[in-house]
Structure formats: structure tokens, C-alpha cells
């Protein structure tokens, strides 16, 4: 049984489809596994590798925010440790 969904190969987070407890092995759709280092609620995100403070966080293959502190692999990624980066709209015009 898998208990996390990875949406894109570029992503550094996966979404837990069951609650995860510290010490659990989270099985990610597609075959990878990661050891959970803290309790993570259902539908929340687990870091697939270390995400350093200032590093971009990817889900859907897109940037969903930037880490405001170091997040360890297997850690809980939430609004407490990532934030939205302002857009550069003028560069998106064609």
C-alpha cells in the first residue's frame, strides 16, 4: 500500500494520503520510500530530501514556495516552514 503521492519528478515534496507517525516508512506512489521524522497529518506534505532555508519547494512540478528554515528529509512541510514568493508578472507577458 502506498501512503503518499508524488505528482512530478521535479518535486521535493509528496502528499501523505494517510497520517504518518515519526519512525514510519512512507511508501510513495511509484516505489520510493522515505523514513518519517515527525508526525504528519493526512493530506500534508513530506520532504523527500533535505530542503535548505531559501531553497524552492516544488509540487505539481512547479514552485509552491520557498523554505523559511531548513527542513530535513522526512520532515513535515507546511505553512510554518515555507512561504509564497512574489510573482514577476512582467516577465510572463508574451
Amino acid at each position: 500500500m502506498t501512503n503518499a503521492i508524488l505528482l512530478d519528478e521535479r518535486d521535493n515534496v509528496a502528499t501523505c494520503t494517510t497520517p504518518a507517525t515519526k519512525g514510519d516508512t512512507i511508501k510513495i506512489l511509484g516505489g520510493r520510500e522515505i523514513s518519517c521524522v515527525e508526525d504528519i497529518p493526512i493530506w500534508h506534505k513530506v520532504a523527500l530530501r533535505k530542503i535548505s532555508c531559501g531553497e524552492k519547494v516544488f509540487k505539481y512540478g512547479e514552485i509552491i514556495g520557498e523554505a523559511s528554515r531548513d527542513i530535513v528529509a522526512g520532515g513535515w512541510v507546511s505553512h510554518e516552514n515555507i512561504f509564497s514568493v512574489p510573482r514577476d508578472y512582467s516577465s510572463e507577458m508574451i
Partner: protein, 386 residues
């Protein structure tokens, strides 16, 4: 996928045949409620604006009121005004009559000498309209007369993973059949606007989508506000959505993948058929209000946290892919798509299921919010009351 509906003289098709009791302002709202409660077939809305407003807000209120009256699900309209509001009932009546030839009558509480006298006249008028509406027969309508509003509210991480992609699949299927779909909530494009813009049918539409997001942020900034302070909501965060970007990237999936052929202002009637988008607030009730005023005849609404919301004029079909939410709030939710996240239902299979569910609603099946008579509205504002 044609459906049996009520053909209107402007060529559009209603899927309901309501008599709408329409207040011009907050002060007419209670009288409108009482009138509607006296007549089977009548629905009312509660309106919180219409007075002591700047011109831009008055313009928005008028677009919503006239749009509601012109919505194809409405057979006829009884307007209840006060007498000293910004746009009086007789002026609103004239404006609606210039836009549609459905029956419209209006009364003013100050002119009539109070609410009881107004109620007496308005109930008689509504009774006659409802009696007449009963004679209109349903006819086979082409699916191209469907304008489906696509909304999400109370989102959690299941919305972007499952229910929104399923509704996106439905949207693609409907557009391929010749129907139109309308996605709004432009503040919930922010962070995903570059992805959404790739669906634009023309470079102009691409840039319109980007500009709407830029303007939205600039508008709030001019008032010293930051959209990121209100988005995501506390419930979104509790449900696993950490930033506006993450929420948006899930939200935009509900619009599907077909080319976007037109970008609408709030409550503006479309001139094209196909996949459409509209610039509205992310506040779901306000967005649905604008979609109803635009002329949507049905609305599909995804949720993760669960919501009871409904609209008086247009049926709102609510779907969730969160199994816990569906089991907790089954009395408010119409379709359970949680099998997608169990891996036992494909997105394409879910799209087929939703196509059948929408077909049933078009042909008269009541949604749960509709059966309860829910009638939420919220009119967007561009400026404070004065």
C-alpha cells in the same frame, strides 16, 4: 448530451423555472423573503448592498441584480424596492426590461405605504407569474445551451489531487460536446497563472490572464493589503495547503485543458462558446454570485473541507474526493470521488460519472443544497461603503 429545459426568448435555456423576488437593496430584502415564502415556485435573495455606495460598487450591484433577473433559470421577476436607494425599483425594472422580455414587475415599500401593503401586492403579482410559469413546457435543448460554472471552496490537498482534475476532465468532455464552462476565482490563479495562461487560445488572452493577477495584487497593495495574508485560509492550511501558489496550482486544474477562448469581467455575458474564465474573488460565495449573474445555468463545486452552500437561482452540485469529509457531511455533498485517491477510480472515469450527475441536474434532479432551499450570495466590492 442534450437536456430538457425551458427555452427563453433570447435563445438561452433554463434548467429551472423560478419566479425571482428581487430586492433592490438591503432594505427590501426581508419583504422579498416574506413574499417568496407565500408563493410556491418563487425564490428570493437577501441583498446587502444597493445604498450608500460609491459609483463602482453601485455598478457592480446593478450588474449582479440585472444578471440575476436575466439568468435563464428565471421565468419572471418581482422587484421589491424601498424608494430612497441608489437605483430605485422602477429604474431597475426598466433596465431589466431593456435587457430581456421576460415578465418583470416592481413595487416600492415607501410608495405602497409599508411592508404589509407591499407584500399584499407583490404576493398577488408573484402568484400570477408562478401560475403562468407552470404552463411552460420543457423542451429538448442542445447541450451548447449549457454554461456550467466551475467553482471550488473549502479546498484541501485532496481538491488539487483529485476532485479538481476530475471536474477538469468533465469540463473537457463538455467543451468537446459543444457546451461552455466557466472557471473564475482569479486570485486563486496566482502562482499558477503562468500554467493557466498556456491554455489561452490567443496571445492576447494569455496576457489578459497574467494582467488580471498583476492587477489584483496591485489593487490590494494600493489599499495597504497583501493577498497572501488571506490566502490560503486557515482551513486550507489545516487541510495541507501551505501557500497561495500551492492552492492555485490545484485550483486551476478544475478548468480542464481546452483552449480558453474568452476572458470575462464579473457578471459579463459571454460572447463565445467553449472554455471561459472570469475575473472574480476567490471567495466562493461571491464567485458563484458573479457566475449566476453571468448566466450560468448550473454550477459544479468541489470541496475538501466540506461546505453547505447553495444558490437560489442555479443548482450547485457539490463533489469531494475527501472520504472523511464525505462521510461526515454526506447530507451536504452530492458526489463522492474518494475512490480516485484509493486508486480504484481514474480521473477519466470520474469525469464520466460527473457527466451523468450533471446531466441529471440539468434534467431536473435537485441537488442537496437546492432541496434545502439554500440561497447564499455575496456581492463583490471594489471600495468601502460610504
Amino acid at each position: 448530451m442534450n437536456f430538457y429545459g425551458y427555452k427563453r426568448s433570447d435563445g438561452r435555456a433554463g434548467i429551472r423555472n423560478h419566479v425571482l423576488i428581487l430586492p433592490t437593496c438591503a432594505c427590501g430584502s426581508e419583504t422579498a423573503r416574506i413574499v417568496a415564502s407565500q408563493v410556491r415556485g418563487a425564490v428570493n435573495i437577501i441583498f446587502n448592498t444597493g445604498c450608500s455606495d460609491v459609483q463602482a460598487n453601485t455598478d457592480m450591484s446593478q450588474k449582479i441584480l440585472t444578471g440575476f433577473a436575466c439568468n435563464p433559470n428565471v421565468f419572471g421577476v418581482v422587484i421589491i424596492g424601498l424608494g430612497c436607494e441608489t437605483v430605485p425599483h422602477n429604474k431597475l425594472c426598466e433596465k431589466i426590461q431593456s435587457m430581456t422580455n421576460k415578465p418583470v414587475v416592481s413595487f416600492g415599500i415607501q410608495d405602497e405605504g409599508g411592508t404589509l401593503k407591499t407584500i399584499e401586492k407583490a404576493v398577488r403579482a408573484a402568484r400570477e407569474l408562478a401560475a403562468e410559469a407552470g404552463l411552460q413546457q420543457k423542451e429538448l435543448c442542445d447541450v451548447s445551451e449549457l454554461l456550467l460554472g466551475i467553482e471550488c471552496g473549502g479546498s484541501d490537498a485532496t481538491s488539487g489531487l483529485a476532485s479538481n482534475p476530475a471536474v477538469g476532465n468533465l469540463s473537457d468532455k463538455l467543451v468537446d460536446l459543444g457546451a461552455s464552462t466557466l472557471m473564475s476565482e482569479s486570485i486563486e490563479w496566482i502562482g499558477g497563472e503562468h500554467v493557466l495562461a498556456k491554455r489561452a487560445a490567443t496571445p492576447e488572452i494569455h496576457n489578459q490572464i497574467i494582467k488580471i493577477c498583476a492587477d489584483y495584487e496591485a489593487h490590494l497593495k494600493a489599499a495597504g493589503q497583501d493577498c497572501r495574508a488571506g490566502q490560503p485560509t486557515p482551513g486550507n492550511k489545516f487541510g495541507g495547503l501551505s501557500t497561495i501558489d500551492e492552492k492555485s496550482l490545484g485550483c486551476i486544474r478544475k478548468g480542464g485543458t481546452r483552449p480558453i477562448v474568452e476572458v470575462l469581467e464579473q457578471a459579463q455575458r459571454p460572447t463565445k462558446r467553449g472554455a471561459l474564465v472570469m475575473d472574480t474573488a476567490g471567495y466562493d460565495i461571491s464567485s458563484v454570485t458573479s457566475m449566476v449573474a453571468t448566466g450560468c445555468n448550473a454550477i459544479i463545486f468541489t470541496t475538501g473541507r466540506g461546505t453547505p452552500t447553495g444558490n437560489a437561482i442555479v443548482p450547485v452540485l457539490k463533489v469531494t474526493a475527501n472520504a472523511q469529509t464525505f462521510s461526515r457531511m454526506e447530507d451536504n455533498l452530492d458526489v463522492n470521488l474518494s475512490e480516485i485517491l484509493d486508486g480504484t477510480l481514474t480521473i477519466d472515469g470520474a469525469g464520466d460519472l460527473l457527466l451523468q450527475k450533471i446531466s441529471d441536474v440539468l434534467n431536473g434532479r435537485l441537488t442537496k443544497a437546492e432541496a434545502y432551499g439554500f440561497s447564499d450570495i455575496a456581492v463583490d466590492h471594489v471600495c468601502r461603503f460610504v
